[in-house]
Amino acid sequence: MSLTERLRFFHEAIAWKGEIPLQSRYTVGVAGERFLRELRDNARLIATHCPQCDYTYMPPRLYCERCFAELTEWVQVPPRGNIHAFTVMHLDLDEEPLAEPEIIAFVQLEGSDGGLIHRLKEVDPDEVYIGMPVGAVFREEREGSILDIAYFRAI
């Protein structure tokens, strides 16, 4: 028993086209707000430290993910670290080819147990390696966004 009819050509398919109106306003939370304001106003990276677990959260968290204690100790971490992982992108979000490939890396920041995912520039994709030391390049005009760091580059 099989269906007696099927579509043989794409143009035979009728689809109902529409668009869902969506808008989203995302706030970064109490800790994220403090992190971004410090980044904007002073071009500094701050993290939270759990004295009990001796663990430094970057990006900062309000509560320790290990012992659930509230974290009140804020520490400054230097804007440099090592590449922990990276990928080279050749397509944008709409899957259109990029004029130049972009490198996205997870940078483990010195003095913290975490790091930031960000762009890596001023380096040839072939020369990037795990463990490569990199530093943040801050924008002159900052507005309180993770993009106040323009990118990371090799140091």
């Binding site: 109902w16 668009e19 706030t27 109490v30 707000e33 971004l36």
Partner: protein
């Protein structure tokens, strides 16, 4: 339980916290385009509407005429196979009177959505459409109606190629 909570823990934000720049935020308008595939049966049904035809399909086992058409009979689970054109007149089997649109705008003149069982098809089948050219007080279950079509050149193979159903002026059977 929640009615006893007067103060919620957390960091509540008010609209003016955003407008006055008290809080940092990301503004994002995702592009959520979609295309809903009508499928073989409904696709052919919609294509028929563009030509001014209402198409149904017959089940070879129970003989029911399905409108809107389905590729498989919902009673017998066998593939349906024979397309038929059905009449443009029918009977109101269910209706509602609404003074708000789907996105909750108030309406002066009510919309009257109804399930219409077309003549000649299997009783119990039917599709939803709007009634018009009728006073809301005159609408009743069993009201005889006919389709009012969009002009042929304006049709787009959509259910709205039928503009609405209106009361049948005189029976011509």
């Amino acid at each position: 339980m929640t009615e006893h909570i007067t103060e919620y823990p957390g960091t509540p934000l008010k609209e003016r916290d955003f407008t006055e720049g008290k809080v940092l935020y990301n503004w994002w308008v995702p592009k959520a385009d979609y295309a809903w595939d009508a499928g073989v049966a409904i696709g052919k049904f919609l294509a028929g509407l563009k030509e001014g035809k209402i198409l149904g399909i017959t089940c070879p086992q129970c003989g029911r005429i399905l409108v809107p058409p389905r590729m498989v009979c919902s009673d017998c689970f066998v593939p349906t196979d024979h397309w038929v054109e059905v009449r443009h007149t029918g009977t109101v089997r269910m209706f509602s009177i609404t003074y708000v649109t789907w996105d909750m705008q108030r309406l002066e003149k009510p919309l009257i959505p109804a399930v219409i069982e077309l003549d000649g098809i299997t009783p119990g089948m039917g599709f939803m459409h709007l009634l018009d050219e009728v006073d809301r007080d005159d609408v009743h279950i069993g009201l005889r109606v006919e389709a009012v079509w969009r002009p042929a050149e304006e049709r787009t193979a959509a259910i709205t190629d039928i503009l609405y159903f209106r009361p049948l002026k005189e029976e011509t059977s």
